[in-house]
Structure formats: C-alpha cells, structure tokens
Symmetry: C2
Subunit: 338 residues, 2 copies
C-alpha cells in the first residue's frame, strides 16, 4: 500500500484536501472532471483512502447498522434490498446483523454497533423483545434510529410501518364478501405489535359484519412457519369441520394450510378459502395462487434509509426535528385461494 | 459518552490494557470473573470502547465484507446466515453488499471494502464478471479472500464449492432411471462456472446412458427465474411434445415449469417429470413437491468464514499456506415431481 496521504495528493494536484476526499468518495458536489483527475492520480500512485483516517477527520463512518430479526425471510430480505440500494446511492455501507428474534442477541448487537461508531441504526424489533433499555441507549447517544415493520409504540423513534389493523380488516372483509362465515385465524406470537394488530383487524372485521368471535378458532403460530399452518389445518379439518376460511398472520402458515388441503384433496376455496399476509414470491408460485396482502418491503427499506438520512442531516445542523412515522399503503391481492 | 480510555480503566482495575480490551470484546482467553469485573465497571462509567481506537491499536477492524450476487435468494440468504452465525461467534461484524450480478458494481464494492480496511472478503462472483483485476487487487494487499459457490477457476483463492458436474449427473441419472429418455435442460447463463458445470453434468449423464444430446432441447435461463421456466415449458408442450422430463439449473425455473404444467393439468411426473437444483424451501411447499439437489447453503457460509479465519491467522503469523478448496457434499432429494 502507498504511504501517501490525502494532503500529499491535494498538494500535488493543487486542490483542497476536502475536494480530494470528496472526489474519491464520489460526492455530487465535485465536478466529473476533477473527480476523474483525482482518481487517475490516486490510481497512479496506488492510493487507498483509509476509512479510519476519514473517520478521524469527519467523525462519520459512512456505515449504518441494520438489525433484522430473520434472515432468509422474503419480506425482510426485500426490506434489506431497499435499504442497501439506497445506501449504495448515498455511498453508505451496511453492517447486517441477524437477531434471530432473540432479545439477548439484539441487545448485544446494538452495543456492538454503537462501539463501531455507525452513523445510524435501522432495525425491526425481535419477537421476544420486551424491554427498551438498549433502544434508549441509542437515542441517548444522539444516533439516528429508525424502526421498520416491527416497531415499538413505547419509544419515540422514526418508523416505517404499514397499518396492520386496516390491512387485516380488508383481508377478512374480503373473505366475508366471498360468503365465508366461519373464519379461523392463525395469529402470530403474543408480543409483536404487528401480530397484535393483525389479530385486532380480524376481530374488528368480524364485529363489523356481525359475526361472532370464537376464541377456539384462533391458533397461535409462534414461529410463523408453514409447519404450524400445516398442523393447525389438519386439526381444523378433523375437529372443526364447520370452518370455511383461514386468515393467516403471514404467508408461510397459509402456504402450510394449502399444502395440507391439497394433499387431502379438499377443494380450495370452495370448502376452505385461505388468505395470507405479506405477498411473498412463493404466494404466486403455488397452486392455487395465494390471496394475500401486499407489503411493500423494498419501498419500506428505501424509506427507512431516507428517514435515517434526514435525521442525520438534522443532527449535523443542530436542528431538533419531530420523529416521523411513515405509513405505507398495502394492497389486497386476490388469487385463486379465495 | 464518557471520555475515559481503555488505559484509564486498566489503571483503575489494576489490569493490563490488553486484558481490558479483550474482556470487553469477549475473548475466550480472559476469565469470566475478569470479564464480569471489567464490564461492570465499564457500564458504571458508561464506557463505549471505540472501534476506531481499537483499529489504530490492533490494525484489525473485526469486520469482514461479503459480496453476494443476489439478495432475496433462498440459497445465498442461507449462505449469508451461515457466515453471519460464524462471524457472530468470533465477534466479527459483516458488511453485506449486493452486486446484483453486475461486474461494474462488484468492482466498485471491492474498492469500497478495501478502503474500509476489512479483515477479509468473502464473495460469490457475479454472472457478468469476465475479468479478475479487482480480485487481484485484494490478494495483492494480502487480505484473505474466500469464494463461495460461484468461484473462478483462474484465480488462486480459497473456495467453498460443490461438485456441480457430479450433482447434475446424479440428477439426470435419476430421471433416466425413472424411464425418461427425452430430457430437456433449462441451463443457466453462459459465464458462471456452476452453470457450465451443471450443463456438462447433464451431457455426461446422457452420454453415459447412450442417449443422444439434442441442442434444441437446451433452453437458456439468463435470469434463472420462474417466469423463464414457465415460458419454456409452454413452448416444450406446444412444440416438443416428445419431451418427457426437464432438468433445470435451479429450483426457480423448475417451479415455473410445475406451475405451467399444473395449470394445463398435465400430469407430473407421468407425462413430464421435473427436476430442480438447490433445494429451496419452496421446493417442498408446492404440489407436487419438487425433486432436486440439496446444496448446503448454511454450511457453505460457515466453511467460508472458517477458511477466511484460518487464512487471517496464517497471515498474522507470517505463514504462507496453500489455498484450500473445500468441496461440500450434495444430496439427491426425491419428491413427487419425478
């Protein structure tokens, strides 16, 4: 590696250190010509601008931390894609951490990101998180924090969310309008706000249409997995033959239901209709296609990055701005399962 | 934030700076008792050890960079999961970059990771990468580089791979043993080694069993998507009714084939059998279940991290070791589509 510094390059090219630094980082406020000149020279002398030196100068790491509760999960991968694309455009890099829905791991990962001097943290809260001390640690340090999807009502942070209650209402309303009256719900775990809200949307729709709520028709999917959906559908068919529709908290349990019904040659949607939530790619690849609620994951990631970026600029300018809650639109997607 | 340094803490607790630093980083060679003492005090004085200060001391960032060609891709997400789990265990953090199968983006991302002083780079090469200059830049700087899945035969780097040719041979052999004789192949793009090798495995199996190779039965899936599989299956049914089996380079095109065949009520596997490659979760969720080759993604990620870690230790000790190629086992998974 070369031992030249930014200062040496600036001197040789008769430019300011800031201009050289910005040119190498591809900042928009440096002309293409200057960028080209700086880069050509940097290449000639084999100069690698050092991120640590840059940090000591700017106190910015140009790194953000993202904590997602599940990897290999279509929706969160889509959010991540949106975050990474926006980050790439702003020359940020992304440290990704997987909390595996564990509160303990999430706490540890927040600490590690803070030690790493990230410029901001974007996160979706783990299902088992029941305390916000680690969250408060971030905000106390004046580091922008943005929640996406699974947020906390108790913390005053910018968030990008959907209206889970309204979306669930629309899903169940659609089933009712198809003539279904005995609608089971595969709900999610107890703690996450989105799981609570989807359950409340289900209840609200039943109420609204004068259908009695029966708590024995609510089945809890703690892992939100296809296996749980498969097993619960088996017990529905065997023990509750009057059930004519299932509204699942997410696509995976709904897909498990369809798998079981297909195996038993039970007609979908005539005998039992199935409704998911999220619109994973697989929803359109199985037969019959799964009706569901489309959650715009990539857009959610993009918006989350934008909220972080705005907040960072405000902090740099010393502006104290209101936290923002961005609520994204969802769509009811009707396929052959209903 | 507190203004205390590691030195201050070491002095107060009567420990060496190294011990304090290791205790805070959870190194295994510090006793649990000492760790507890250091942590309790660090918490009391609200000390956040600064990653930059640590880097200046150790010249290690404890960050690795991972470049994957596709996000929201079951297999690569699984590899990432394996990498991140192993990284977590060794107190490394992971910067993830998505090359989107683009050579240009991949080059840029390598540069950014080098500027960030990552301790190592793990990557799977983009489909469009046709030149290895950026790869050579990494190795010249003596930074450990490990390939996973899509590697280059031309570069002397440690890699974790599978034997694509043998696995494809086994897949096609299985179809032949089921009595299929007119087997089409949905191949991948032209450049990637794994796409070439799976195609060669297909040809080898035909040769071995004395079946004539017909190049008009090979269909190229440049996006490796379900849409391509769907469209090619339609043209097979309409234009090549003699075809009785399809071997696809990956699960997605195979799933597109099954979708089309289901819609047309064409019997699987009796009229046309379908074989995938990779064993995505969805392969077991569709009806009929998709026969495929299981690629151990998470293990691949774990092994890739281990190769990086070994290489880093060797570099630190000044040992020049041979590059390692780890070839993982694959399994033939037989489901109802064959």
């Amino acid at each position: 590696m070369s031992n030249l510094t930014l200062k040496d390059i600036a001197k040789t090219l008769n430019l300011s250190i800031t201009t050289v630094s910005k040119a190498l980082k591809d900042y928009p406020d440096v002309s293409a010509k200057t960028k080209e000149r700086v880069r050509a020279y940097a290449e000639e002398v084999n100069f690698t601008p050092n991120a640590y030196a840059a940090f000591l100068r700017t106190q910015e790491s140009k790194i953000i931390g993202v904590i997602i509760p599940r990897l290999n999960h279509y929706f969160f991968s889509n959010v991540l894609k949106g975050i990474m694309k926006a980050a790439e455009e702003h020359s940020y890099m992304v440290i990704v951490l997987n909390s595996e829905e564990s509160y303990e791991l999430e706490q540890k990962q927040v600490d590690r990101l803070l030690r790493q001097n990230v410029d901001g943290i974007l996160m979706s809260i783990a299902d088992s998180t029941h305390d916000l001390e680690h969250i408060n640690k971030i905000t106390k340090q004046n580091i922008p924090l943005v929640f996406f999807d699974k947020y906390s009502k108790l913390s005053n942070c910018s968030s990008v969310i959907i209206n889970d209650q309204n979306a669930a209402f629309a899903a169940v309303e659609h089933l009712i309008k198809q003539g279904k009256k005995n609608i089971a719900h595969f709900r999610g775990p107890l703690l996450p706000q989105n799981s609570i809200d989807r359950f409340l949307g289900y209840r609200k729709a039943l109420d609204h249409y004068g259908i009695e709520y029966r708590k024995e028709w609510v089945f809890r999917c703690d892992d939100i997995s296809s296996d749980e959906g498969y097993a619960y559908t088996q017990s529905i068919v065997e023990e509750h033959p009057e059930i004519d529709a299932i509204f699942a908290v997410a696509d995976m349990p709904a897909i498990g239901a369809i798998k079981y019904l297909n195996e038993q040659k039970i007609e979908i949607p005539n005998q039992i209709a199935v409704m998911g939530f999220s619109n994973w790619k697989i929803a359109n690849l199985i037969t019959p296609g799964l009706s569901t609620i489309n959650q715009p994951g990539e857009l959610m990631g993009k918006k989350a990055f934008e909220l972080f970026y705005t907040e960072l600029q405000n902090i740099k300018k010393g502006v104290i701005a209101e936290k923002q809650i961005v609520e994204l639109e969802t769509d009811l997607i009707i396929r052959n399962s209903t």
